[in-house]
């Protein structure tokens, strides 16, 4: 024993464990960082739950839920074009010139309608479901393939204020594009039916359609290559 040597002063006995503790700590910190990034940097956290306030406190729960209006009464381009389109003031005003016409909540609508000749100030609805600008998405082809609104937008008919419920990330898209059978509705079930859920029959029919190569009915061929969406 060389008690009192310089080294034992500089490195007491407990420092023997230091490299092991440091290594463990570094590993734990590394794992923690990976976990944090994986969990909280995911669109499941950053995007899901986005519920902006709108200029008019429009309730989908009332209009689409209790009243049972079809989604396409307002979002009428959904079958024809890439966007589901927010209705123009004329669509709202068609009913609200009679119903609740003096409601204070409708002041922005009256401003937007103007004289009815496109001279009003548009209502600046806040877009809820935001895809990055480099991602191509077309509503019409999805509706055409038998994908319902609820698959991506959730039960909008139960939402007082619309909220994003799915991450709408690349992983979310690809998951469905690789096996969409649980989301493909059979002929005769409308895309706007919010209560439809997949049955073993519908899944079997969809799987059959995925292998189908003909034109009638149109083949179901969800692309998974890059330029399907990044074009």
């Amino acid at each position: 024993m060389r008690r009192g040597s310089n080294l034992t002063v500089l490195f007491p006995k407990w420092t023997n464990k230091l490299p092991a503790v440091l290594a463990l700590g570094a590993a734990a910190t590394g794992l923690f960082v990976v976990f944090v990034v994986n969990f909280w940097f995911s669109p499941k956290h950053t995007d899901v739950g986005y519920q902006p306030y709108q200029p008019i406190s429009y309730s989908h729960k009332l209009h689409a839920g209790s009243m049972g209006m079809d989604c396409r009464y307002c979002h009428r381009m959904v079958e024809d074009g890439p966007h589901a389109t927010i209705p123009d003031a004329d669509t709202c005003f068609g009913c609200h010139k009679n119903i609740k016409k003096d409601s204070l909540a409708l002041a922005p609508l009256h401003a937007a309608y103007g004289t009815g000749k496109g001279d009003g100030t548009p209502i600046e609805w806040v877009k809820v479901h935001l895809l990055p600008d480099y991602a191509f998405f077309n509503h019409a082809v999805h509706v055409r393939a038998g994908v319902g609104c609820v698959s991506c937008h959730g039960r909008v008919d139960q939402m007082e204020i619309v909220r994003q419920v799915e991450p709408l990330s690349m992983g979310f898209c690809l998951e469905c594009h690789r096996d969409p059978s649980a989301h493909i509705r059979p002929n005769g079930v409308g895309a706007t039916d919010m209560t439809w859920t997949a049955t073993p029959d519908s899944i079997a029919a969809a799987k059959k359609l995925l292998e189908w190569q003909g034109d009638n009915p149109p083949a179901l061929n969800p692309p998974t290559h890059c330029s399907a969406c990044h074009r």
Binding site: V21, L24, A28, F32, F35, F39, W40, F41, S42, P43, K44, H45, T46, D47, V48, G49, Y50, Q51, P52, Y53, M67, G68, M69, D70, R72, Y73, R76, E79, P82, H83, T85, I86, D88, D90, T91, F93, G94, C95, K97, N98, I99, K100, G118, P122, E124, K127, L130, P132, D133, Y134, A140, V143, R144, R163, Q164, N187, P217, P218
Partner: protein
């Protein structure tokens, strides 16, 4: 080592707690973009705002062009939006300007909807259920109060006549000609809004076919 164990346990518990309550929580703050890449590109996007001095109203989706020579009763109206581009065959008026008595769209016409063939009467029923049933009810009986067929009439004092035939009534609405029905759908009437901008010409004629089919139940 016990302190390390306690620290790790605390960490695990706090992670579990945070994962339980934090992910996907409701927020009115816009989504965070951790890597901006090209998420927001300076380009015209549908129905958005654009800063461009040529378009002082800031609409990226432009309004339809006004028709300077329109003979439309609503004046210089939005001819493209109304879906009434001149097509003499599908016009609701004949050469003399009188309403057509007969639906110019044959019942045998086949719509191609999303790549699939759809019979005219099915297309008419679908469009009727989307756009008309909210007031007229899926039956076309309309009406007000608790017995009203459409939801609007059941809850609000909106006059919604039935277009069915009934004993002892003048049956004015039921006896409208096809051209007149088309006119009402296109331009609206009294409390009914105009659907010309929302339904294509073919869709409106398909609805007229479907209305006739509904009426045949009460004839």
């Amino acid at each position: 080592m016990s302190t390390l164990k306690i620290t790790l346990a605390l960490l695990a518990v706090s992670c579990a707690g945070l994962t339980g309550c934090m992910r996907g929580g409701v927020s009115d703050a816009p989504p965070v973009h951790l890597v901006l890449d090209m998420d927001f590109q300076h380009k015209l996007k549908a129905q958005s705002h654009i800063e461009f001095e040529g378009w002082p109203d800031g609409r990226s989706s432009r309004l339809p062009v006004h028709d300077p020579v329109s003979t439309d009763p609503l004046g210089k109206t939005l001819v493209v939006a109304r879906g009434s581009l001149p097509n003499a065959d599908l016009s609701h008026k004949d050469a003399s300007g009188a309403f057509k008595k007969q639906n110019p769209l044959p019942l045998t016409h086949t719509f191609t909807v999303l790549g699939k063939p759809v019979a005219t009467i099915d297309r008419g029923k679908e469009r009727f259920d989307i756009h008309c049933s909210i007031c007229h009810g899926t039956t076309g009986l309309g009406g007000n109060g608790p017995t009203g067929n459409g939801l609007a009439g059941r809850h609000w004092p909106v006059a919604i006549p039935s277009f069915h035939f009934a004993e002892g009534k003048d049956n004015r609405v039921a006896n409208l000609t096809d051209g007149e029905l088309f006119d009402v759908i296109t331009y609206g009437k009294n409390t009914m809004p105009a659907y010309g901008a929302r339904l294509s010409v073919e869709d409106r004629w398909a609805i007229v076919h479907y209305v006739r089919a509904l009426q045949s139940l009460s004839k």
